[in-house]
């Protein structure tokens, strides 16, 4: 059973989002995503300051056998990327919820309301498993 923390928001591309402070959110990949990928070997992330449209690809996560594009859940600007994950990609398999990938700044927090809550994401995972 994949872990799905109750206090996060989720996308159908198996990413999670968590508010850090008003206008600033962290984005990462879910337990389901890391499990599907297998041993993660490399993470590519955008530079801080990059402007993203909703749904735009902001990087990739590569594993021994495959890779997955990362998609911006909402429009915003990249405030920071997590150097820990660049240095130690395997840690993403261990702690997908602790190892955020990017922090994104948005004008209006309500854009995240459109994301799934934990219950909806759980249903989504069940449907693709």
């Amino acid at each position: 059973m994949s872990k799905i923390p109750a206090d996060l928001k989720y996308t159908k591309d198996h990413e999670w989002a968590k508010q850090v402070e008003p206008g600033l959110w962290e984005v990462g990949i879910t337990d389901f995503a890391q499990d599907q990928l297998g041993d993660i070997t490399f993470v590519e992330l955008p530079d801080a300051g990059t402007s993203l449209d909703a749904g735009e690809s902001f990087g990739t996560v590569e594993s021994v056998k495959t890779f997955s594009d990362l998609y911006a859940p909402v429009a915003g600007e990249v405030e920071a990327i997590n150097d820990d994950v660049i240095e130690d990609p395997a840690a993403l398999n261990e702690e997908p919820y602790a190892k955020w990938l990017m922090r994104i700044r948005v004008a209006d927090d309500s854009v995240f309301d459109a994301l799934m809550d934990a219950a909806a994401y759980e249903t989504h995972v069940a449907s693709v498993e």
């Binding site: 041993d39 590569e62 021994v64 398999n93």
Partner: protein
């Protein structure tokens, strides 16, 4: 063989499911790719012992007085050098010198030969061999009756010896013998595809389950684990073993692939000899090289290779190398006129990353003795 809509399962499918296998289709079979972490499976083989179910591969027996001569005409290496109980590795070429498959051929007796073929080429190989051999010998595809297991790693031999006839321990590298393992008559060979020492066992389907269980039990104290195809790929790439369908194929010849050592020019005629002689004369148009990425990134088959801004080829295989501290390695062909380069650039999604160009195995394991 499965049609494109059917897929075969391995005999031990349920055992793989029970072990948590993630499956993917390969050569018409539902194959276990991994059971957990590919990197952990890789290390398990390099440091201890791993068990691979490679029963999707093909087992073709060639029998009769004319078997040696018939087979020797089809392959580049010289089978007449083998004695009973020995094997060799060889490409099998078409008349243009293109590689139809790469094989391990075991001489069980003067009139009984086992040819292990790649799963994806089984149908083509059997058709080709039957057509070329005709009445000279009996060609029997017995793949449906046999399972194939590989037990590999520095502890592999000890584990298998503990449940096998004493004679097994005396097998030299590339030796093969019929004897009992885990109570069942098998064909045991000291061959493998990982760069580690160990055995490949050809096991009649009827006793496959018992042999599997016996070896897994015997290997428990050494931490034996099932190993999937993904780790099989990272292991073989580190050892610089080639993969048919990726590094070699009908459009590649043994000389450009670095397999000239398998071509025995002084044996009699064989299919492709004239074409290969011509290539040897003029030099191949390209040569297979190894690459070690020197910047952060990931390599994949298909990525273009550059030497000083000239596109000289592309990668045919690539992976992370867990036994090399996670360095990223690959194989690919470089245009002959630039193949002496020591550095290359590999284009990774628009960015050119530097790589060292190598000619040797990336990792030497216990198979080297």
């Amino acid at each position: 063989m499965a049609s494109k809509d059917e897929i075969n399962q391995l005999l031990l499918h349920e055992e793989h499911v029970a072990a948590g296998a993630r499956f993917a289709p390969f050569a018409g079979y539902e194959m276990p790719m991994r059971y957990g972490s590919i990197v952990e499976e890789h290390h398990c083989v390099r440091k201890g012992v791993g068990f691979f179910d490679v029963s999707h591969m093909g087992q073709v027996f060639v029998r009769g007085e004319g078997a040696l001569a018939a087979l020797n005409r089809l392959v580049t290496n010289d089978l007449s050098r083998l004695t009973d109980g020995n094997a060799l590795y060889t490409p099998m070429c078409n008349a243009s010198g293109g590689i139809l498959d790469d094989l391990i051929i075991y001489r069980l007796a003067a009139d009984e030969w086992l040819v292990c073929v790649n799963a994806a080429r089984r149908t083509q190989d059997v058709a080709w061999m039957s057509e070329q051999i005709g009445d000279a010998a009996a060609v029997d595809d017995e793949s449906e009756s046999w399972c194939q297991f590989a037990i590999q790693g520095p502890k592999a031999r000890d584990v298998v010896h503990s449940v096998a006839d004493d004679a097994l321990a005396a097998l030299p590298r590339f030796g093969v013998a019929r004897l009992r393992v885990a109570g069942a008559e098998v064909i045991a060979a000291r061959t493998g595809y990982t760069g580690e020492d160990g055995y490949e066992l050809y096991v009649p389907s009827a006793v496959a389950r018992a042999v599997f269980a016996g070896i897994m039990k015997a290997g428990q104290p050494e931490g034996i684990a099932l190993i999937g195809l993904a780790a099989r790929d990272t292991l073989r790439l580190e050892a610089r073993y080639l993969l048919y369908g990726s590094d070699i194929g009908e459009s590649t010849n043994p000389i450009e692939a670095g397999l000239a050592w398998t071509v025995k020019w002084d044996k009699g005629d064989f299919i492709g000899k004239r074409a290969l002689e011509a290539i040897r004369e003029s030099g191949p148009a390209r040569r297979l090289r190894g690459f070690v990425l020197q910047e952060r990134g990931m390599l994949r088959a298909g990525y273009p290779v550059f030497v000083d801004d000239t596109n000289v080829g592309s990668l045919t295989s690539a992976s992370v190398a867990p036994s090399l501290d996670g360095q990223v390695i690959g194989l690919g062909y470089i245009r002959a006129d630039l193949c002496d380069a020591e550095q290359a650039q590999i284009e990774v999604r628009g960015k050119r990353l530097s790589a060292e160009v190598t000619r040797k195995p990336f990792y030497i394991g216990s198979a080297a003795g």
